[in-house]
Point group: C2
Chain length 338, copies 2
DNA sequence: CTGAAAGCGCTTACAG
DNA sequence: CTGAAAGCGCTTACAG
């Protein structure tokens, strides 16, 4: 493997000049630049990025922490991050949390060890700080010592720049769609109680109902865990209540699909007997039976924007926290319009 | 940010000793080690991995090239890679090819630039070599200058270590399952013509048919492109042939699902009128309607094994090419057993 | 526009 | 078990 020094010798210049030929070619005279490039080619030279990174005191990579890469919801965001990262000449490291939430701290330590220059969090929880906040002082801009951007799931009290959608408004739109179709008994399958998205979507659901003078019936709000199975269970619960719902708004698509599966199993038709709306527009919602009305999140774009935001922080262009809200969209399919 | 030198000073030792306390603690006396760790803690010191990497002439990362991270088939493999990588203290960089296959060469260059120590390919094509093979000499073990491992899709003539399943045997098992259920007119929706997986699964299909003295009817083999839409189209083609099939084996789950969707649209029942088998066992095959009989690939494990294989190469433990075949499994669901 | 030289923060053979 | 010193391959202020 040839080094920059070899190229310099062959081209008859110093390594400083070779370095400049790579980093800021316009600062090198055309003839010299030409000689250097030819020498590099002859020697099959490739700039050593590890060395460059050490000199520049950076790593040229960002770390993306994902709850579950196997879940397309996250991997589409990741795809957006990766695409923008390439444009900006950054590499993307992935960290899959899996079943052990303690991994987040491990990943945070990786960044502290300079494996990455910054962190993008898709997981709704920030790493525990290793420095205590100083009482009386405002929370610091970079409590971790490096920039962090949060995607999708706002982290309460973390004061971190965030990109996502307006979950309250989107949920409200979803429920209004049902109400406008004539439904009055609209049930809600919420997510896990402590979850931020659960809360926001629940608020949107309630806001829609109340905006037309409706209140949820007793038993019409059930918490699931975002899984298909919990969607099924919710439907069984709804079947037991006095005023059976004619429509269901689920806090994500998986639960909506579980609900549809269970309704069909019970011999009910969707949307004939019960209309169903989901949230997220995962790939499958288009091809399930019936195709699912849902809220589309611009996941690829969310990833791109998050990456851009992070790089702006890395370059020091921006201070203060920011919250970027991208447009979500109601996609009407057969699960609400038979 | 404190450096190793600061820790050394505070602990009253040399940086060499601090370095050893981190890399091979057993070579440092317990008392000194203790002093170093305390100093590091006091200074909130974190080892700078970029510096370590330059010294060791490595990057501590592997690059995984994926055709599409948004596709769960690949992201599950990625998850296996990530999990094993963490155990082995490697970082995982991702490269999404997207619509431009030329990206592969870009990623290969990244590795050459030492951004990663090795490459894992999920994409069925190796980067073009920048060094020509020397005629008369055997192809070199590391034509790219660094180790490469291929997952899932064997790359013909590349002489690269590979981990995957026996696609011929698995396809044969899938078709025999249909034959044993009494089907004689089994059609096949194959993948893109040039694809390696397409060929292997087609061979398995033919082998199964011939093992019981059957030949595919005219028009009973149609090539799709692994998309849902192409599965639909294939069914329309089958409906036009003289001897309509009573069963379909599709080369992947997406096409199988497209086929089911089209059959239902035509008023045919699955499996009553036509039984359908897919390949891959993607997440959705369990929850579609009817649930899909398919071949399960151990994707997570494939990723883990690929990572282990790569690290063995990185450590120089292994030479020569290797092909690791993991067991695939026929999962019988309602699309073949009404 | 170009070069000499110091520096980035580690690691490691060598010597003791 | 520990240290002095060279080295990993770049970058960059400084000077000319």
């Amino acid at each position: 493997m040839s080094r920059m020094r070899d190229v310099a010798e062959r081209a008859g210049v110093s390594t400083a000049t070779v370095s400049r030929a790579y980093s800021s070619p316009e600062r090198v005279s055309p003839e010299v630049r030409e000689r250097i490039m030819r020498a590099a080619l002859d020697l099959n030279y490739t700039l050593n990025l590890v060395a460059r990174n050490l000199s520049r005191n950076e790593s040229g990579a960002v770390l993306v922490v994902v709850p579950d890469i196997g879940n397309p919801f996250f991997s589409k965001i990741l795809k957006g991050i990766e695409s923008r990262a390439r444009d900006l000449s950054y590499s993307v490291l992935i960290g899959d949390i899996g079943s052990d939430p303690g991994q987040i701290e491990t990943f945070a330590r990786d960044v502290a060890a300079r494996r990455a220059d910054g962190l993008i969090l898709l997981n709704g929880r920030a790493p525990a700080l290793n420095m205590a906040e100083v009482p009386g002082e405002p929370p610091r801009e970079r409590p971790l010592g490096y920039p962090v951007v949060v995607v999708s799931e706002r982290i309460p009290d973390a004061r971190l720049p965030t990109v996502g959608i307006d979950n309250v408004a989107a949920a409200k739109a979803a429920v209004l769609h049902l109400i406008e179709a004539g439904h009055r008994r609209v049930a809600h399958i919420a997510g896990p109680v402590a979850n931020v998205l659960t809360k926001e979507r629940l608020v949107g659901y309630l806001a829609a109902m109340r905006s037309v003078g409706l209140e949820p019936d007793a038993g019409a709000i059930v918490h699931g865990d975002f899984s298909i199975a919990s969607g099924r269970q919710a439907v069984r619960a709804f079947m037991g209540i006095e005023k059976r719902p004619s429509a269901i708004f689920a806090s994500n698509d998986e639960m909506a699909m579980g609900a549809i599966g269970e309704l069909k199993r019970l011999g009910l038709s969707v949307p004939g007997d019960v209309a169903v709306v989901g949230f997220d527009d995962i790939e499958f919602s288009e091809i399930c039976d019936p195709p699912l009305t849902t809220i589309h999140q611009p996941r690829f774009e969310m990833g791109q924007v998050a990456m851009s935001l992070l790089v702006r922080r890395l370059r020091g262009d921006i201070q203060g926290d920011e919250e970027i809200v991208l447009p979500a969209e109601l996609i009407v399919r057969a699960s609400t319009t038979g």
